[in-house]
Amino acid sequence: MKISLNHLKNYVDINVSPEVLCDKMVMAGFEVESIEYAGDNIKNVKVGKIEKIEPHENSDHLQICQINIGEKENVQIVTGAQNISEGDLVPAALDDSYLPNGMHIKAGALRGVASNGMLCSGEELCLTESDYPGASVYGILILKNTEKIGADMREVLGLDDVVIDFKITANRPDCNCMLGVAKEISVVLKTDYHPPVTEYKTKGGDIKDFIDVTVKNYDLCPRYVGRMVTNLRIKESPVWMQKAILASGMRPINNIVDITNFVMLETGQPMHAFNYDKIEGKKIIVRNAEKGEKITTLDGKEYDLSPDMLVIADGKKPSCLAGIMGGEESEIEADTKNLFLESAKFRRDNIRHTSRALGIRTEASGRYERGTDILNTEYAMNRALSLIYELDAGDIVEGALDRYESLPEERIIKVKPADILSLLGVDIPVDEMVDILNRLDLKTTLKDGVFTVSVPSIRDDVEGRADLAEEVMRIYGYDHIISTPMRGDVIRGTKLPEREKSDKMKSYLCSIGCDEITTYSFVSPSSIDSLCLDADDDRRNAIKIINPLGDEYSVMRTTLIPSMLSVLATNINRKIEDARFFEQSKRFIANEMPIKTQPAELPTLSIGIYGKDEDFFTLKGIIEGIMRTFGAHTQYEVSKEPYLHPGRQALVKANNTPAAVFGEVHPEVLEKYGIETRVLVAEVKLDVLFNIKKRPTYYKPLPKFPAVERDYAMLCDSKIPVGTLEAAITKGAGRLLEKTELFDVYEGEQIPEGKKSVAFSVTLRSMEGTLSDEQIEAVNEKIVNNLSKIGAELRK
């Protein structure tokens, strides 16, 4: 809400500087978006009297002027203008002055004669005839001889105004106007508030002879006030009114339209002016639009209306889009003779809905959406009529058509002062509280230790003691709130077990060189597509956002892999040689499509790595480490993820439940992301891992007896997985096995085609005593037999 301070001063006494006013208003709940100083672009330009004019020796058009600016010495200024005479008052831009057109004037010399400034034309001061008479004359602006010599031109031009843009919070629609803000200022500064006059005289007659008003839907239009004005005398509105309208960012049109806008600025109540002679059937009907109806608004655009939209219709058709914009046909024009004036209350959500649906936002619709006061309609109408009367813009017809079903009663709140203070924790004298509330027009009396507060309808945000507490506190001053340390039992907060577990996992991942990333929860459908998933893959059932910012962010992700691949691609494209990334976030899985209920939000971890030292087994190492932090018992199985390399991927089961998939990304997928190097990714279901109950850890005695180490080198079919061989050894060694370590796998020269050589080092130990040769030989025999059963023969 932009407020001209000069305009505002008509309604409230302001005894502080604009800066102090802003500070005080901020502390009362009115944030200041900006302060603009009008005339800020004119500096050091003063009213000067031309005392003497002499010709310039070296020029036939330049003249040397001695200018009196109210100081001891005259200032010498050389000018080329010819429309000046001795004794004229002129605007003199002195040394180091600025003009609104951006010119910076400094002392200098013109053809060898010192010139300590410049005499200005109206154009150079960016003035028009309406700003100052004579401003459009070619040559120097000759000022009225009543101006004070030496006065700052900003004062002369009335450019000493300050425009403050207050941010009005959604709970204070009553402050979207001059009077609301003026009232608040009067409370904050403890100064007088002067509401404007609403007096006028009618020329008799009876409105009922002119027109009839019917409201068909009081739910959407709780009150409609209509008045008639005849014999309009349309002309320009006075300069003071035009200035106020301009300062608020609107455009002056003519006296009638300007009055409706000016009253809206003053009171916050939108008004609408109809050309009476264009109202068909001399009927005003407030009703819902009918199916198929159209309206052409003031701006010449045609809109299709739907039955949930409220219109002001005449006997035949919609004539105005209620509370939003008038129709083109009933517009007030220079030759309009008679006026029907509307001041109405419309339901804010309906205006909001229509305004959104049609994409029209106006000063009026904005105010209706935030909420207007039902009682203010009448006050605003009277104010408008008083201005019509004052400006002699027409003849006011006797009588009003005021339609409503009921008017609200004042809300009464009864509350003990102590109950207000108990929310604040501050001791405020009761008298002071009563005084503050009363100054805010919340009429308060104290009887038997209880406040009775009567809340006017314009403050319908004030509902109970919490609101009263806020009203009292913001005026009394929030700096009175003294902090108290946390009270109550000494307790230490806790984290959810999931967060504890994920913290542990993250610190593991960091310890092995993984950096954490953060990406958006929504992705493009094509990014899920790029994983080459089967047509019936569940991950294709991503939940769509109804109003996304764009296709790029339009579905809730069902997998974290696309986001990870994008991040990897970004880093690879920026020539970063290697990286290890992880992200913990949620996957969104719908319970039904289209969704009706909250989807499952599954905590998920993604990992992405690339670089010359990374391969399937480094990622497998990372996965094993993660499983260890959760105390999971793991198994690896061959998997068939379409986005992974068919021969380099695995499914990980944690305690027999599928918990992760990892592997090298399929080259076809990489191509879609523009990645030209091998990258590896994993997706881990944290919901599965969070559910694992970790067994408690107990001490195991350290070994007392020596271990025996034996190597087993074998030849077998190259298709037999190493894990199968290891399992045979493990089974054979039984409880004497301490560890098995793979130390060589070889295919190639000296090994028959289709075979491979595999070597393990096996450590055996007993906790009971030193192993005897017999014990060792028995184990050896079992191992060899087991290996032989699966087709692995020891190499001699």
């Binding site: 901020v26 502390m27 709940g29 944030e31 959604a170 709970n171 629609p173 804010r348 959500d349 909001r352 959406e369 935030r370 108990s422 929310l423 604040l424 924790g425 109970g464 919490a466 507490a469 806020e470 506190m473 913001r474 929030y478 709130i481 003294i482 902090s483 108290t484 340390p485 946390m486 009270r487 109550g488 907060g493 984290k495 959810l496 967060r499 960091c510 310890s511 950096d515 954490e516 990333i517 953060t518 958006y520 929860s521 769509k544 956002i545 109804i546 109003n547 910012l549 809730m556 880093n571 970063i576 990334f581 992880f582 949620k586 969104f588 289209p594 969704i595 009706k596 909250q598 939000e601």
Partner: protein, 340 residues
Amino acid sequence: MKEKIEQLKAAAAEALKNASSKEDLEALRIKYLGKKGELTGLLKQLGSVAPEERPKIGQLVNEAKSKIETAINENRDKIARAAKELKLAGEAVDITMPAKEKKVGVLHPLNRVLDDMIDIFKSMGFDVVDGPEVETDHYNFECLNVPADHPARDMQDTFYLADKLLLRTQTSAAQIRTMETRKPPIRVICPGRVFRADEVDATHSPVFHQIEGLVVDKGITMCDLKGVLEQFAREIYGKDTEVRFRPSFFPFTEPSVEVDVTCSECGGKGCRVCKGSGWIEILGAGMVHPNVLRCCGIDPDEYSGFAFGIGLDRLTTTKYKISDIRLLFENDKRFLEQFD
């Protein structure tokens, strides 16, 4: 005899001076002290000395022997030491060569800051809870005192997934879930991801993060709110930080305040960072609105409480002086690894 002993001593001393290796020393030892050595030889000749002189000469020979022995040993240690030193000197490294460090990863800057905050609030007795990101209209708006078509809904452009299903615009939704499941006294924070339909630019992101705080108990006042926020602000911004309340509006709190802290850049004197005001706005807060308490089945006449919402992204960008919020979601490794 005596002279001979003296001569041998002198010769040995001279030879020792020239000995420079273990081998030289061993040769000297054999020459003088060995079984066939010169001093041993002298001892053998003791028979030829007059009987009354024998003990004296014998003693002289033994003295000479032990003297030479000591000298040889000392020299041996010296040479060994010198050899060790020489070896160590040869092993000197260039300490300015790069370290062989095992690379450690880093948490995302948002989570580093979040972890600090969680520690601070946990120490003040707050439990850390969670809430869903896809919320119902009921939890995100209705129960928070924002009925349908209330103008306050304009303050937050919402992403919808279905009728009455949306991406939460504020972690305040978790307040309601907490109050429905816990009985006062309640002291929780709920960190989480929130969404608003803001176009992406240097200071706006459709995805961002908040930390919601909620305290409900008997007799909670605005002074308690200020106490908690002051302690939090001092832990984050330094112990001299002051907190200021400014009246504001949120539908779910009443009274509502914006909370400013003294600018950590200038200490409140006014600078470019705080645009000359000396204050920086860090969060919104207020006393839980009676309608909200009622909606959760808590009697506002018996209990009161406060709530606050901290913008994690803003806190992070200010802390690290990150100029563009988009960097947080771009995940360039060189960016991420600056925050360890």
